[in-house]
């Protein structure tokens, strides 16, 4: 069945609730196991469907479509959630959090993300987005005793609701002018009535863009991100910066290419500027950070600028195939290296609990594995070959330059400059843990011990990061497949 992966996730959610009620506290780790298994199981139908793919499956009168694009991103979301679960296992257990509810909420968010990838009408997409984000409002405040977590949560929530209402207003305008909810119909009517470039369509596009811009944290809708990232539990932050962001991008890609593809250059130019500014603001701000999580927050803002840029240029040129290909490829590679980066911070914070990364001097000598992880993931983020990040950047540059458009060219130059700026702070953590001298003696081996779930996360991300760097063909094929099928 076409939506079997969604169903498996639903079943897992229900299972998690029931188990949470039934199980005594000491057995609650079973919930974690079930969730992990559930997410893995959900991956199987995706593979099966991908292997046996023949044509897009259209359901609910065109409002729900399963094509290669959605399959690939579903796979990504499931895998990322799986890794987040692994990241969370020790975290949730050690800090005495509410395990059942935690996994339940994450699975809900996953469900939302899965829905977004396939949704082709306004309502389904809205519900998908809400389902993906509301659990995150709660999870970001999961460290209940921690005031930073609380604060991050309320900021996230308020801005999230506001952005949701902006999206809604935008949707209402679209509905008002076309009377339809399904994207393809909306687009048809917009074109038929010559409304695609009307101020109304543009306004709704901007409102939607702002609303989704919040989720993907592009300037100027990004301001919640550093605070929330800093406050939220680390695995949640990782999830936020990867899956949540990807959800937003998926929604943006779908909306822009399915509805607003004919809305003129104005939107694209704005997006170009936004993505350029986002890169600069994210990177320059990241330069200033001493808190590693905040650093990653700003880095993920900057990366959002990178991911956005091909779509932005595609909006000008109308060549969505190239843009979607680049963005999706970037998203996939970015997901794994960013999870890895959070993993590194997680491991290091376990060893020296400090929010100032300069306290981590020389840690790599005690924990070489973590040191190697740090090198691989952070330099991959910086885009240094042969680590995966280079190819992500490369496809973006490629798509920017593909048309010879002046905006694309300028954006590519901005991107190149930003790649260099990014290197400075990405290299900083490696520098600190490998080259600086220790500030205090690291006492026992116990703290430098890396729990095996984290190791699994590390190695999975490591292998994916390196493989995507050395044999980028694999991932770029996915991106290519998604872009082709998405447009057909």
């Amino acid at each position: 069945m076409a939506i079997s992966s969604e169903l498996i996730v639903v079943l897992t959610i229900i299972g998690a609730i029931i188990l949470d009620i039934l199980l005594p506290r000491r057995l609650k780790f079973i919930i974690a196991l079930v969730s992990i298994l559930g997410s893995l199981t959900a991956f199987l139908p995706i593979i099966f469907q991908f292997a046996n793919y023949s044509s897009p499956e259209i359901m609910f009168e065109g409002s729900y479509v399963i094509d290669k694009f959605s399959l690939i991103l579903k796979g990504l979301f499931i895998l990322v959630t799986y890794l987040t679960f692994l990241l969370s296992v020790n975290f949730v257990e050690s800090d005495e959090y509410y395990q059942g509810e935690y996994y339940f909420l994450l699975l809900c968010s996953l469900l939302g993300a899965l829905v977004v990838t396939s949704s082709r009408d306004l309502l389904t997409m809205f519900i998908g987005i809400e389902l993906a984000s509301t659990p995150m409002f709660l999870l970001s405040g999961w460290k209940k005793g921690d005031q930073k977590s609380n604060e991050g949560s309320i900021k996230f929530f308020l801005l999230g609701v506001l952005s949701a209402s902006l999206i809604l207003y935008g949707f209402s305008l679209l509905y008002g002018v076309t009377g339809k909810l399904v994207f393809s119909e909306i687009a048809n009517i917009l074109i038929q009535q010559d409304l695609a470039q009307s101020p109304l369509a543009l306004l709704s596009a901007i409102l939607i863009l702002a609303g989704i811009g919040f989720k993907i944290s592009i300037v100027p809708f990004h301001s919640w991100a550093p605070d929330t990232y800093e406050g939220a539990p680390l695995p949640v932050t990782a999830y936020l910066s990867v899956s949540s962001k990807a959800t937003g991008f998926v929604a943006l890609i779908i909306l822009l290419s399915k509805i607003f593809f004919d809305s003129g250059q104005g939107l694209g130019i704005v997006l170009v500027f936004i993505s350029g500014i986002t890169m600069f603001v994210g990177n320059l701000s990241a330069l200033q950070q001493t808190n590693p999580v905040r650093l990653l927050a700003y880095s993920s803002i900057a990366q959002a600028g990178f991911i956005l840029s091909p779509i932005a240029v595609a909006n000008i040129t109308g060549n969505f195939e190239d843009g979607v290909y680049a963005s999706v490829t970037y998203l996939i590679i970015y997901a794994f290296m960013n999870i890895g980066a959070f993993l590194v911070i997680n491991i290091l914070q376990r060893s020296i609990d400090s929010e100032d990364m300069y306290d981590w001097g020389g840690l790599a000598k005690e924990m070489p594995l973590a040191g190697i992880f740090a090198v691989i993931f952070f330099f991959s983020l910086a885009g240094i070959p042969p680590l995966g990040g280079w190819f992500a950047k490369f496809v973006v540059f490629r798509s920017l330059l593909s048309t010879g458009e002046i905006f694309g060219l300028s954006l590519a130059i901005v991107g190149a400059v930003n790649a260099v700026i990014g290197l400075v702070y990405y290299s900083r953590i490696s520098k600190i843990i490998w080259m600086d001298s220790p500030k205090e003696e690291i006492q026992s081996d116990e703290e430098s011990f890396i729990p095996s779930p984290l190791k699994v996360v590390g190695f999975v991300s490591l292998v994916l990061t390196i493989v995507s760097g050395i044999f980028p063909g694999i991932f770029s094929n996915l991106g290519e497949a998604s872009s082709i099928f998405f447009n057909s």
């Binding site: 308020l158 506001l162 306004l203 901007i206 809708f221 301001s223 605070d227 603001v281 320059l284 400075v424």
Partner: protein, 672 residues
Amino acid sequence: MVNIYLVNLFAEGQPEYTDGGVIAEFAWLIVILPFISALLITFFGKYLPLKGAEIALGTVLFIFIYSSTLLFQHATKGIANEFFINVGSIGTFDLEFGWVVDGLSIMMYFVVGTVASLVFIYATNYMKGEIRYTFFFTSLTLFAGSMLVLVSSPTLLQLLIGWELVGVCSYLLIGHYWEKKENSSAAMKAFITNKIADIGLMIGIIVLALSTKTMRISEILYQSTHDYSEIKTVAYLGGVLLFIGAMGKSAQFPLHVWLPDAMAGPTPVSALMHAATMVTAGVYLLGRMFPFYQGMASQALDVVLLFGVITLLGAGLVAVVQDDLKKVLAYSTVSQLGYMVTAMGSGAYTAGLFHLWTHAFFKALLFLGAGSVIHAVHTNNMSEMGGLRKEMPRTFTTFIIGTIALAGLPPLAGFFSKDEILASLNHEGHNFYFIVSVLGAFITAFYMTRAVLLTFYGEYRGHGHPHESDRMMTIPLITLSGFAIVAGWVNIPGVYTGFTKWVTTRKTAIVEYHPESFDLVAMFSGFTAGILGIGLAYYVYKFSGKAIEGDQKIKIKPIWKVLENKYYLDLFYFKFIVDPVKITIARLVDSFNTNLLDRFVNGVGVTASKAGGIVYNNLDQGGIDKALNLSSTGTDVIGSKVKLIQTGKTQQYIMYFLTGVVVISLIVLLVL
């Protein structure tokens, strides 16, 4: 890969010359052998009874024997042949090494072989107990090899290689006592000065090679004697450039400054390199390229002549005021080199080489004699010598022979060679230069006599007990004095002109003036100048009290001072070239690097970081704060009560958000 092939040189006539047969074909042995020996000495020398000197001696003796054989062969049946080995091609350009066996090179082989053998023998004793004895012989052997590379070279490329290699050996040997900074500085000075001159040589070679499309000297000479147009356009430039190179090695004014300082090296080095062989490389180069100068670059010869004459006079004058015996000889060498260059410049090919030939023997003799003296009295200063003729009779005698030869009195070697130069000048009608050269001869005689008188006559003014040097040192002296006497007899105009035949036996015919008989004017003036010089010196230093006070009598203060300061050339060089470059400009560049470039680079980094700070603190985190403060000041003005409370961050973010929306909407709707 290596293809040695023979070039038959005599395609155009002159069948009386032979290709030299096996002996020419194996001449590379004498070039290669020293290098092998140098390696052997370096690695095994220390373990041998004579600390490596035996290998060195064996090598040079071999060279001597081989070159003697060659000379003998050549004297009986002219050899002119060259051999090439291809060592690579760049573009269509072949890089070749090889060896030449013709009159000029054989003459040089012989000079090198002879003088080197004698100097080596001398040095085994002279250097006994000195520091780095073995290494000394390594360098000396290496030098012999390098010199042979230079003189055997059939291509400009190899010539350049040999040229520089002898420079390095000179550097090593001048700086032999490198514990003292003066010595290493002198070595550096020699090297750098030569290197400066080598710019000329290098560019000259480049110019010639590229316009003739070959590095082969014979080919270049062929083209320059056959009116090829490409070379014609660059001939003057090339000629001057090559001569600049020659000026360095052959210590021509104003690049001669290194040679006197080079006396910091051990005396055998001065004898071998800085008198007989290495310094004549420039003259050799002029000689080797002579057909080119004659055929194409005759204007360049005027330059050569001018500098030669300046040098011969200028250096001679400075020699007069020196107290250091070796420096006297050094300036004398410069002056004599000036003669050779003058000869070349005036078109007297044979005369220049002839002077080279004779000079090699008697100047080596003089140096070795001086070394013997220095060895005995442990000082270089003539003011601390005197009266040594009794203690060191053999040294004295040989030194006197050398002096007379140098002063140009018949029938010793110097007379014939100098006479031929004067004759040539006279013949070419360079009257002014002729007079200057005669004056030079006079000065030569004067300062040499002065040196002899100060050293060997009068009272002993030094400390310690001088004694005659032992046999290993005197035998070379005696042998060389023999040469100093007879070397000139191989080219007596009208009597026997074998030498002319030797050195003109080469592929490209030499068009030059050969005096068929003595030029009486030249002979008379040269002879008179010599006699007068000796006489005057004798008068000044011998007949009026103590020799040492002689200087006071002829001291014309301003001139003397200029001479003592060597025309202020060194001062000029250091003050206006070396120091500015080394200190001012270099530091400027360095500080440009650290202060400007690095500051710029770091500045970019800092600016980025600052920009980050500004973006982060003002825009990202506090931009609205500013706006709010502004607006609240506004409200303050209209009287609303304002508490300076911190803004709620969350709302600030929301403002951000919404401002973004509004601005973007306005832009999209109104602007785009």
